[in-house]
Amino acid sequence: MRLVRRHILSAYAVLALAYLFLPIAVVVLFSFNNPRGRFNYTWEGFTFKNWTNPFGFPGLSAALKVSIEIALLSSLFATALGTLIALALVRYRFKGSATTNLLIFVPMTTPEVVMGASLLTLFVNWRIAQGFGTILIAHILFNISYVVVTVRARLVGFDRHLEEAAMDLGANEWVTFMKVTLPLIMPGIVAAGLLAFALSIDDFVITYFNAGSTVTFPLFVWGAARVATPAQINVIGTAIFVIAVSGMLANILLQNFRSRKGALAV
C-alpha cells in the first residue's frame, strides 16, 4: 500500500512537471518552425533560419536592448535599496518598523494593473513624459519589495556570533560588515538581484502603462501578436530561458560543491 502511494505521488509530480513544461516545449519547437504566413501558430516544417537570423525582424533587437538595460539598472538599484531596508529591519529595533513592513508588503499584493495605473496617474499629474525613465522608476519600485523579502530571509538565519568574534578580534564595525557580514549574506543579495532582473525583463503590465513610445521586449511581443508573430520571438524567448536556467543550475551545483567542501555552514 505504501509502495503504491509513493508511486502515485511521484507519478502525479511527473505529470505536474510535464504540464509545466508543455508550453515551453511548444515555444522551443516553434522556434524551429518555418511559418508560411505572418503567424507562427501551425507547424509548417523544420528550419534553422530563425536561429541563424535571430534579429531578422524590424524592432526586435532594439526592444531587447531596452529590456536588458532596464533589467540591469533596475535590479542594481532595487537590490541596493532593498538590501539596506532588509538590514535595518532585521538588525535594528526602531519606531515605525511595523509601518515599514506594511509598506514593503502592500506593493506585492497590489494588482499590477492598479500599480501601473497609479504610476500613470502620477506621471500625468506631474507632466512627466513617459519613456525609458518612467519604466525604470516603475521597475525599481516593484522590485524593492521582492529584494527586501529575499535578503531578509538570508539575514534572519545569520549567526551573530561571527560578527562578535570579528569585533573581539579588534575589527571595527565597518570592517566587520565588509569582511564578515557582507560576504555571508552575499548569496542572498545575488539571489535577490537575479530575481529582480528576471521580474524586470518579464514585466508587461506595469511597463505597458508607463512606456510612452519606448518598446521593451514584452511590449514588442504584445504589439507583434496582433499583426504577426515572427518565429524570432520564440528564438529570443528560448535563448532567455536557456541562459537563465543554466545560470541557476550553475548556482545550485556551485552551492552543492561548496557545502560538500564543508565551508562555513551558514
Binding site: I24, G82, I85, F105, T109, I201, D202, A225, N256
Partner: protein, 284 residues
C-alpha cells in the same frame, strides 16, 4: 546589542528605499484616489468628490467584476490542487535533489509571460492536437473549440501564476519537522490522519500565502482574457486597461481600480478569518 544607542542608523538605512516607495507608490495611490473622485475629459480632470464614479463603475461593469472573481477563484483552487502534491513531493521525497526539482518548477517561468501565453494559444488552437483529440472522443463537438472559451482563459491564468502557489507551499512544507509526523505515527495515527492533523495544519501558512499570491494577480489579470478569450471573457483588468489606455476615461478607470483593491482586500480578510489565526498573515 552595540547598535541600540545609535538610533539614527536604521533610519539612514531605510531612507533611500522608503523614499522611493513613498514617492512612487503612496503618492501615486493618493493621485489615483483623487482621480477616482474627479470629473472631466482627458487631459482636463477636476477634483470634485464625484462619488457617482464609483456607483457608475460598479453598475456598468458588474459582470466583469463577478467574472474576475470566478475565474481567479477557480484558477486558484486548481493551482492549489496541482501545486500541493508537487510541493509535498519535492519537500519530502526530493532528498538531495530538492533544489534541482525546485528549479524545474520555476524554469518554465523564465520564458516571457506573453510568449508562454501565446504558446497556450497554439496548444489550444482549433487545429491543435488537444482540440482534435477531444473532438475524436466526443467531449467536444465536431465544431467545438477551446480557444475563446472561459475554460481557456482559466487554464491560462492557472498556469501563469502557478509558481506563486508552489513556492510558498514548498517553503512551509520544507520547514516541517519530520519528527512531529513520526511522533504522530508512533502514537498510532494512520498516515492519512497524521497528514490531516500534523502536516496539513503546519502547512496552512504556505496555503494562505500561496492562495493570496495567486488570487490577487489572477483577479487583476487581463492578458489571458485578451489572448485566449474574446470580449465575452473579459475581466475587470481588461476594462481598467482599456478605460485608461484607449478610452482615457481616467476617473472611471481609477474608481474601478479602487473597487478592485477593496474587493480583493475584503476577500482576503474573509479568507484569513476562515483559515483562522492572525499568525497566518505573518507568514504571508
Amino acid at each position: 546589542m552595540i547598535h541600540r544607542r545609535k538610533w539614527a542608523i536604521p533610519y539612514l538605512l531605510l531612507a533611500p528605499g522608503m523614499a522611493w516607495l513613498l514617492v512612487f507608490f503612496v503618492v501615486p495611490m493618493w493621485y489615483l484616489a483623487k482621480m477616482s473622485l474627479s470629473q472631466g475629459l482627458f487631459p482636463f480632470f477636476s477634483f470634485g468628490w464625484a462619488w457617482g464614479n464609483f456607483r457608475d463603475a460598479v453598475s456598468s461593469y458588474q459582470t466583469q467584476f463577478i467574472r474576475s472573481g470566478e475565474y481567479a477563484g477557480i484558477a486558484t483552487v486548481i493551482a492549489l490542487a496541482v501545486s500541493y502534491p508537487l510541493a509535498y513531493w519535492i519537500a519530502f521525497r526530493g532528498g538531495r535533489w530538492k533544489n534541482l526539482f525546485l528549479l524545474l518548477v520555476i524554469a518554465p517561468f523564465f520564458v516571457t509571460y506573453l510568449i508562454r501565453t501565446l504558446a497556450w494559444e497554439t496548444i489550444l488552437s482549433d487545429n491543435g492536437l488537444i482540440v482534435r483529440i477531444l473532438q475524436d472522443v466526443g467531449i467536444l463537438g465536431s465544431d467545438g473549440r477551446l480557444l475563446a472559451t472561459s475554460a481557456a482563459v482559466i487554464a491560462g491564468i492557472t498556469y501563469n501564476f502557478l509558481p506563486f502557489m508552489v513556492l510558498p507551499l514548498y517553503v512551509s512544507l520544507e520547514q516541517i519537522d519530520h519528527r512531529l509526523i513520526e511522533a504522530a505515527e508512533d502514537l498510532y495515527a494512520s498516515r492519512a490522519r497524521a497528514f490531516a492533523r500534523v502536516t496539513l495544519p503546519l502547512s496552512l501558512p504556505g496555503v494562505f500565502a500561496g492562495v493570496l499570491l495567486t488570487f490577487i494577480p489572477a483577479a487583476g489579470d487581463f492578458i489571458n482574457a485578451q489572448l485566449l478569450g474574446t470580449p465575452r471573457q473579459y475581466m475587470i483588468g481588461n476594462v481598467i486597461q482599456s478605460e485608461f489606455l484607449s478610452v482615457r476615461d481616467y476617473p472611471t478607470a481609477a474608481s474601478l481600480s479602487f473597487v478592485l483593491m477593496a474587493a480583493i482586500l475584503v476577500l482576503v480578510l474573509i479568507f484569513a478569518r476562515i483559515l483562522g489565526t492572525d499568525r497566518l498573515t505573518v507568514a504571508a
